[in-house]
């Protein structure tokens, strides 16, 4: 294949990626957009096998097939064997951490590509190439180790709370200075050893960078690391003289940055605060022993009676609902209430679940009709006319502390103002605080009734109690 054809195919793939991102921005075209992206990536991958890229110094191209063909195909097969089943089998509730993991391995791949090309170029590398290599290695490694930590936080393999240790910010700042210093060393000294030292330090920095991030901010960090990985791909595109990689990487870097900002806005977080949380985080005062305060707990029958005489009910689903796999049961309850002439809506917080839009995916999986899903801005003014708000497995998104307690980790996040409803029902497993680890005053409100237990079991009981009325 001539280099013109190769470049044209690369360009076509680049256009496919633009169309993919464009499509993914609208519900109607989203799925098609994703398929267009997949097609672009497939074509780009196939084209590399049919064209021999010139080696260093534009050295004479060897003939096809490309070197190490068997090994390459084997490695792709291995990647397919690992990646496809993981993507197919993952529970929708665990999807955010899978996305984090995929992002991390992508960053790792970019860093490895840069390292290999660096070893390969040896002394012939230009200063610009070395600088881009250093960038790719640093950011790719940060993205890799940072994503692994977010994965562990979301999978709850480690604490979801911010991990802050005394003097932590000095350690982080020191690591960053070391990373920058070694980067200069690599550019000046051009050796393999400095590059490996740089990789190790960058991996360490990635870990330290993400550790102080609290559970609620993790989605923003995933999105940010996603944008980072995009930029590393663009940088390695420079080193490899691949227009396609430059276009694709830059697109992801730019759109990822915007997306990160949109997410941060939806959560009422400043991007700056999240980014530099690592440097500003202070060890939090211990939130105190869980106080023994009276709460009002009720039985499924109490809940059913309350619902039966309500005119308007708003269901506020949270991650706990999804964990209990209660989406189908909650739809059953909603259908039952609608058949009794009760006005039912779902109040969806933009970041309900573990990621923005996650709850919509989870409810769509249970075929809840779209027109019953109300976004936060729509539903908030209606709470004062709502008789019952049922909060199922949600906590942080309704916590008034976000409005009343400056300095708490979620302060400033817009919340669903369920406290304006006449009655509030919380379905909870225990009094344990939510993902962000903050006590919720609403639980002690006199108009709140708590129904303890697994969300699915509780809802099933409520449904049968309501049927009997």
């Amino acid at each position: 294949m001539s280099s013109t054809w190769y470049s044209l195919i690369g360009l076509a793939s680049g256009v496919a990626f633009i169309l993919a991102l464009k499509g993914l921005s609208h519900p109607k075209t989203a799925r098609r957009g994703n398929l267009i992206g997949a097609a672009g990536a497939t074509v780009a991958t196939l084209s590399v096998f049919l064209y021999v890229t010139p080696g260093k110094d534009g050295a004479e191209a060897h003939s096809l097939p490309i070197h190490n063909l068997g090994w390459i195909l084997g490695a792709i097969a291995l990647g397919l064997i690992i990646g496809v089943p993981a993507a197919r089998k993952v529970e929708m509730t665990q999807m955010p951490q899978l996305v984090a993991l995929f992002n991390g391995v992508g960053g790792g791949a970019a860093a490895l590509v840069a390292i290999v090309e660096y070893l390969n170029l040896g002394d012939t590398a230009t200063t610009a190439e070395v600088i881009f290599t250093v960038f790719t290695v640093v950011v790719g490694c940060v993205s890799f180790s940072g994503s692994i930590i977010t994965f562990m936080k979301l999978q709850e393999l480690m604490t979801t709370r911010p991990v802050v240790f005394p003097g932590g910010r000095f350690v982080i700042a020191g690591t960053l200075v070391a990373v920058l210093g070694v980067s200069v060393w690599v550019v000046v000294a051009l050796g393999t050893t400095p590059l490996l030292v740089l990789a190790v330090l960058s991996l360490l920095f990635g870990v330290l960078f993400v550790l102080p991030v609290g559970g609620a901010d993790v989605p923003i960090v995933i999105s940010l690391l996603n944008a980072f990985t995009g930029l590393t791909v663009a940088a390695s595109g420079y080193v490899l003289s691949s227009t396609l990689l430059i276009i694709a990487g830059t697109l992801v870097g730019a759109s990822g940055t915007i997306l990160t900002r949109l997410m941060a806005e939806a959560m009422g977080r400043s991007l700056f605060g999240t980014l530099f949380g690592a440097f500003t985080a202070k060890p939090q005062a211990a939130t105190g022993v869980a106080e023994e305060r009276p709460v009002r707990s009720g039985s499924p029958d109490d809940v059913a009676i309350l619902l039966n005489y309500a005119r308007r009910v708003v269901i506020v689903p949270g991650f706990g609902l999804a964990v209990a796999q209660a989406q189908h049961t909650v739809r059953e309850l909603a259908d039952l209430m609608i058949s009794k002439g009760i006005d039912v809506a779902y109040g969806i917080h933009p970041v309900a679940g573990r990621m923005p839009g996650h709850m919509n995916v989870l409810l769509a999986e249970a075929n809840v009709p779209y027109d019953q899903l109300a976004e936060m801005d729509e539903v908030n003014p209606t709470f004062s006319q709502t008789d019952v708000a049922i909060v199922i497995g949600a906590n942080d998104v309704v916590n008034p502390a976000a409005q009343t307690t400056p300095g708490c980790p979620i302060y400033g996040m817009p919340i669903l103002e369920v406290s304006n409803a006449a009655n509030i029902i919380f379905l909870k497993r225990s009094m344990r605080p939510g993902f962000a680890g903050i006590e919720n005053e609403l639980l002690y409100d006199p108009k709140t009734m708590l129904l303890f237990g697994d969300a699915k079991a509780s809802l099933t009981k409520v449904v049968s109690a309501l049927k009997a009325l």
């Binding site: 957009g33 070197h67 990647g79 915007i258």
Partner: protein, 110 residues
């Protein structure tokens, strides 16, 4: 490639990237992030190029590792995004699909 051409491509891509996602509802944030995530899996192309260039075992091993990771990123990313978006079906056949999936869910849960 000359530096000016690369800079032009880079700057234009930044603006296209900004433009295409500037207005997107929060419902689609997660699939969009996941889709963008899959797109940077195209680093697979770079990994294959360096595997072709490899001159010794160390380089080959590292580049093969890069190929495995990049493939996981790219293919896994597109598959999981498709699974997410599968849920956003047009309303018309939603009720029919609902029944089918309910039964499937009941059968599957036990």
């Amino acid at each position: 490639m000359d530096a000016m051409a690369i800079t032009s491509i880079f700057v234009l891509s930044v603006f296209v990237g900004f433009e295409v996602v500037s207005k997107v509802s929060s419902t689609l944030h997660t699939p969009l992030m996941s889709g963008a995530n899959a797109i940077h899996g195209v680093i697979l192309v770079g990994a294959i190029i360096v595997a072709d260039h490899s001159e010794n075992n160390l380089e080959l091993v590292l580049s093969l590792a890069a190929i495995v990771l990049a493939t996981i990123n790219m293919v896994g990313g597109f598959v999981v995004t498709d699974r997410m978006l599968e849920m956003f079906k047009p309303k018309k056949d939603a009720s029919a699909a609902a029944k089918k999936e309910d039964e499937a869910a009941k059968g599957g849960q036990k």
